[in-house]
């Protein structure tokens, strides 16, 4: 699949969806998703228990909007924990995580859920789709978190997203799809609200080389062309090589923080 400008949202659909979100139709939000907020981490530390050594320590990190950030390192080095901290799913032992003006560590759990829904698109290694639902319903699943009825324009956007990632909407259930197709449905689900931040945890680890390349193309093209911040944890060079910046972790400490060549 070509990862080119055809992955950017059609202007009308994108603006309609943004309008629907801002006016409270479907999924209420006060956010402006047109630009990604900058990320600023200060004196971050994550540990379990007061005596134990932190499993992740990050004195400072700044990420500009639209950065395609790769996070690499051996298992247990704290890569996934970083993603959870950046999405507000984990609270740091100390330090702060700022996305623009929002300090995630100061938000209540409910507010953090709302912020995450409005700002973050999550992609997992194992897709975590609902196998009994068709692709379209999987993509629309986050729309049901706060609204009873799904607005027509959001449904149209989900259809367009599926079309853009190359998965037909008329398939019975996602269980019938190939793994590559399933991950593409998961990507479409993450993009439903056009989030300014995309977090991906080993998105290609469960795929063969062709499917991995395909998914990476889609994800990076979307982020690049829509100026979205993409933070992707991966061991896969297919993915890492596409990043504009790379963080290398080992034993919970940042070893390398470098711009890609």
């Amino acid at each position: 699949m070509s990862a080119s400008s055809d992955l950017s949202m059609p202007a009308s659909t994108s603006s309609e969806t943004a309008s629907a979100i801002k006016t409270g139709k479907g999924n209420s939000s006060d956010s402006d998703n047109s630009t990604s907020p900058p990320l600023a981490i200060n004196d971050l530390s994550l540990g379990f228990g007061k005596q134990a050594a932190p499993i992740l320590s990050l004195p400072h990190l700044g990420v500009a909007p639209g950065t395609l950030l790769g996070v690499a390192g051996p298992s247990g080095s704290g890569k996934s924990s970083l993603l959870y901290l950046l999405s507000g799913l984990l609270r740091p032992t100390k330090g702060s995580v700022h996305w623009g003006d929002t300090d995630l560590t100061s938000l209540s759990e409910g507010a953090c859920d709302t912020w995450r829904r409005q700002h973050v698109g999550f992609i997992f290694q194992d897709f975590h789709l609902i196998g009994e639902l068709p692709p379209l319903e999987n993509v629309l699943l986050p729309a049901g978190f706060h609204g009873w009825r799904i607005p027509a324009d959001l449904r149209a956007r989900a259809t367009t997203l599926l079309d853009l990632v190359g998965v037909p909407t008329n398939r019975g259930s996602v269980a019938d799809l190939s793994r590559g197709e399933q991950q593409r449905v998961a990507i479409a689900r993450a993009l439903l609200f056009d989030p300014p931040i995309l977090l991906a945890d080993e998105p290609t680890a469960s795929l063969d080389a062709v499917a991995a390349d395909n998914c990476a193309d889609i994800l990076f093209a979307y982020a690049r062309e829509n100026n979205r911040t993409l933070i992707v944890v991966s061991h896969d060079h297919t993915v890492i090589d596409r990043c504009t910046r790379l963080l290398q972790f080992e034993k919970g400490r940042l070893l390398t923080n470098a711009e890609a060549a």
Binding site: D113, R117, I130, G131, E132, E137, F145, H146
Partner: protein
């Protein structure tokens, strides 16, 4: 918030287990509903069976035995109420209607009861087919007796195998009429003139010989043309002809008035009083050393109390079963939730609020409970109906199991308890740390 896509997906994913959950709930509810509905049907059926039996007068003995004999046609040995006592009832000013009931014989397990034509009219409101018996060897059958008008049968003494094999009376009785259906055990009964029962047991007929003579004297006195014609014959011929004529027109005396001086005993008298005050008066007057009088309702109330106690025990057992089922399902759902925890953690990562997770799990369990309870309600009603039909077939007592407030209350109670218990897995997963579940630990 619309958790239905997740809930329906969860229901589909483990559909075998979910069907088992629903089946378990349905059975638990059905047991309770079936017991309650059946118990009520039994009460209503038995109360209906006793409707026409306002007061029973019998020889002193067990009231329950008398009720079982007279209303439910369950034969047992009872003492006989002496003739002079029961004949007084027929002339009692407080009595609107009274009839003797004489048991003891049967045909193919259908009780043969000796009584009067008035009793048949009173019991079934007339005949559906045929005519009332007019002779000792004629019978009127209940609506459910497998005989046709014109059929003959040979009654046997007693009931069951012994009656069939060894104790035939050697009398053939012809069916002449069929009663309307009453929805009581009497639909399976065969009613013959009480005089026939006395006759086959070699007892007095209950009528004086003068009854016939008086009737003939009366006929002669009317000076009918036939008798006038007889006078034209010579004496011998006239005498011979008169005997033939007497034989042809012999009128069989059946029913009241009876000869109070030469009257056999009967097992019971059914009495319909003219008034409530009269009913209590009769009940009081006939409670003596030689007779007892009572309202069958009194016995039924006692029986209902016993039935109620048994029913209460069964209901508690059903409740215990339901509690066990709920506990088992709860344990299974909690185990199932361990499988779902990663799915719900992913939803949280995608932005689902905790309330969405809580609502989804609660709704999932609630749907199982509601479906199970609804199916259980129908199943319980069906079982109660089937049992009622078996009871009806065996006793002749019309019983219809219905779903009433108690059954709906029981099912609703189960649903409410289920809703409350559904909070447990919902709350447990609601509190589960998301990252821990995402990591699959």
């Amino acid at each position: 918030m619309n958790p239905f896509p997740i809930v329906f997906a969860s229901l589909r994913r483990h559909w075998v287990m979910n069907i088992l959950f629903i089946a378990l709930i349905a059975v638990a509810v059905a047991i309770g509903v079936g017991i309650t509905a059946q118990e009520r049907a039994l009460r209503q059926g038995s109360a209906h069976a006793a409707d026409k039996f306002d007061i029973l007068v019998a020889a002193p003995g067990s009231h329950t035995d008398i009720v079982m004999n007279t209303i439910f046609l369950r034969p047992s040995a009872v003492n006989l109420l002496e003739g002079p006592i029961w004949s007084k009832l027929l002339d009692d000013d407080r009595v609107d209607f009274a009839a003797p009931l004489a048991f003891g014989d049967s045909w193919h397990d259908h009780s043969i009861i000796g009584s009067t034509a008035q009793f048949i009219d009173y019991l079934s409101g007339g005949l559906r087919d045929g005519a009332m018996f007019a002779d000792h060897e004629e019978a009127v059958i209940g609506a459910a007796v497998p005989l046709e008008i014109g059929d003959t049968f040979e009654p046997a003494h007693g009931h069951g195998f012994e009656a069939e094999e060894h104790h035939h009376h050697g009398v053939n009785i012809t069916v002449v009429g069929r009663m309307n259906a009453t929805g009581t055990p009497w639909d399976s009964a065969i009613i013959v003139p009480v005089e026939q029962v006395w006759e086959v047991h070699s007892l007095a007929s209950g009528h004086t010989e003068n009854d016939h003579d008086e009737e003939h004297e009366h006929e002669h006195a009317t000076g009918s043309p036939e008798h006038a014609d007889h006078d034209t014959h010579d004496d011998d011929a006239a005498h011979e002809h008169e005997h033939e004529h007497e034989h042809e027109h012999e009128t069989v005396k059946l029913g009241p008035p009876f000869d109070g001086l030469d009257l056999p005993g009967v097992p019971a008298m059914v009495v319909h009083p003219k008034s409530i005050a009269g009913a209590y008066g009769i009940r009081s007057s006939y409670r003596t050393d030689h007779s007892t009088a009572f309202f069958p309702a009194e016995v039924l109330v006692e029986m209902y109390q016993m039935l109620g106690n048994a029913g209460a025990v069964m209901r508690w057992m059903a409740l215990g079963t339901q509690a066990l089922v709920v506990a088992a399902i709860l344990a299974a759902v909690l185990a199932l939730m361990q499988i779902y925890r990663k799915q719900f953690a992913v939803l949280r990562a995608l932005g689902a609020p905790r309330s969405y997770i809580f609502g989804s799990i609660w709704l999932y369990v609630a749907i199982l409970v509601v479906f199970g309870a609804a199916i259980g309600l129908v199943l319980g009603w069906g079982v109660a109906q089937a049992v009622s039909q078996v009871f009806t077939a065996e006793t002749g007592m019309a019983m219809t199991a219905t779903i009433g407030k108690p059954e709906l209350g029981l099912a609703a109670g189960f649903v409410i308890i289920g809703f409350a218990l559904a909070l447990v897995p919902a709350f447990m997963l609601y509190r589960k740390p998301v990252v821990e579940a995402l990591r699959g630990s």
